[in-house]
């Protein structure tokens, strides 16, 4: 019983008592909107759907995501954006991809954090108010439980994609060969010596790395090795396969695994010694 209570306490502390710098969530907020625009905006410009309901919905999408990006009335705009992207995802059949689902989930999670306390117009306005009133500036700190959900979401992406590949057809490298024939047709791959072995090595490495990333990113000692390995993996996916925003989203969301205080201090250190003109 005591062990269970201790576990519950740890779960509560880890997930719900994570009060730290809001710079990570501020950066994710901006990056997410840019990614979701690059994925959807072309299909949502007003001329695409001239019905009044379509114009209204698409205008609301651009309004709320725009406000979220610049960080104005961020609490409201990010919740509005989360509701709208969830609706859009469900009504547009062409949006129903894994990578857009990831973006939708993360927009919902980031809306649960005080993501407007850093890198936002809200922050700038708050600083201006504090300057006028002579009070200290508001802290860039908040409860980041949404960031924990993002971390869990990323782990599950790695875990379940790895799980999906646990069958002989993939581990033998045959499915990698099929991808080569599918996207890079024109070469006689069968005549290349060691091609099948190379595909098998790629397949096993990918699955191993996915399982390591699913759990290892939580462990600081492993993180410094796994994060660059994960970035290389995603960059290769991006260059070799038509996966669009998925790579950039995953790399951006690695911020959820880096302690927010480290990100805060890293940015502080970058500005050290800067003297405004």
């Amino acid at each position: 019983m005591k062990t269970l209570l201790r576990l519950l306490q740890r779960y509560y502390n880890w997930g719900l008592c994570y009060r730290d710098s809001t710079r990570s969530v501020g950066l994710i907020r901006i990056g997410l909107v840019l990614l979701i625009w690059s994925e959807w905006a072309g299909k949502l410009i007003l001329c695409r759907d001239v019905r009044p309901s379509g114009i209204l919905l698409n205008s609301a999408f651009f309004l709320f995501t725009g406000l979220m990006c610049i960080g104005l009335w961020t609490r409201v705009s990010s919740i509005g954006a989360a509701i709208l992207v969830s609706i859009m995802f469900n009504i547009h059949q062409s949006f129903k991809h894994h990578h857009t689902f990831l973006l939708v989930m993360v927009v919902c999670f980031i809306a649960l954090t005080p993501c407007g306390r850093s890198y936002s117009l809200d922050r700038w306005l708050a600083l201006r108010r504090s300057l006028k009133s002579g009070l200290p500036p508001p802290p860039e700190i908040g409860n980041l439980w949404g960031l924990r959900l993002i971390a869990i979401q990323l782990s599950m992406v790695y875990f379940w994609t790895g799980y999906e590949k646990l069958y002989w057809g993939f581990l033998s490298g045959a499915r990698i060969e099929l991808l080569a024939y599918n996207y890079y047709a024109g070469y006689d791959y069968a005549s290349i010596p060691g091609f099948s072995i190379l595909c098998s090595v790629i397949a096993i490495t990918t699955v191993t790395l996915e399982f390591l990333l699913a759990f290892g990113l939580y462990i600081p000692r492993f993180r410094k090795y796994l994060m660059p390995a994960g970035i290389v993996l995603h960059v290769l996916f991006y260059l070799l396969l038509p996966i669009r925003t998925f790579t950039l989203a995953m790399i951006l969301l690695y911020l959820a695994f880096i302690p927010a205080s480290s990100v805060h201090h890293f940015i502080d250190n970058m500005h050290k010694g800067y003297e405004p003109a």
Binding site: G15, L16, W160, L178, I243, S261, H265
Partner: protein, 151 residues
């Protein structure tokens, strides 16, 4: 006060702010429900093979490459000599450039026969055009044709 010290004192101050019990309970419930959705949604779809759109699986690229064919066309001459032919070259397409991957690859049994018939039209009906082909399946390559004559 340095930025680092300011940050630490702000953090301490924030930790001391008391929150209402209702807010804490709501947060615990929301966090737990969302976490369960993220963790067990794919379990429901991928392990239990559940249906419906409420939950999502993480099966990326699991159908890509299925039905793609590895094809080798060749002519069997009357003296039993075999002459391999490059179907893209015969059909007047650049082997690697100038076309989308959709038009370079051959998909499915019908695709193999269609390309075979186009080669036959180009080369004339008198040649003994044959094909060896294998097709991509979820479990890997499966033999489709061995020394099949294109009619």
């Amino acid at each position: 006060m340095t930025p680092a010290n300011q940050y630490q004192s702000d953090k301490t101050a924030m930790e001391e702010i008391a929150e209402s019990k209702l807010a804490i309970v709501c947060r615990v419930v929301a966090f737990t429900l969302l976490m369960l959705y993220v963790v067990f949604g794919p379990f429901y779809k991928q392990v239990l093979k559940g249906r419906g759109n409420l939950f999502r699986s993480w099966q990326m690229y699991h159908t890509r490459g299925i039905d793609v064919c590895d094809v080798q066309f060749y002519i069997r001459h009357p003296d039993e000599r075999i002459e391999h032919i490059d179907h893209l070259q015969v059909l007047g397409r650049d082997k690697l450039l100038g076309s989308h991957h959709h038009s370079r690859r051959i998909m499915g049994e019908r695709g193999v026969l269609r390309v075979g018939q186009r080669i036959r039209q180009k080369m004339g009906g008198a040649v003994d055009l044959r094909v060896n082909a294998r097709i991509g399946t979820r479990d890997g390559w499966k033999t489709l044709y061995v020394d099949k004559r294109i009619e």
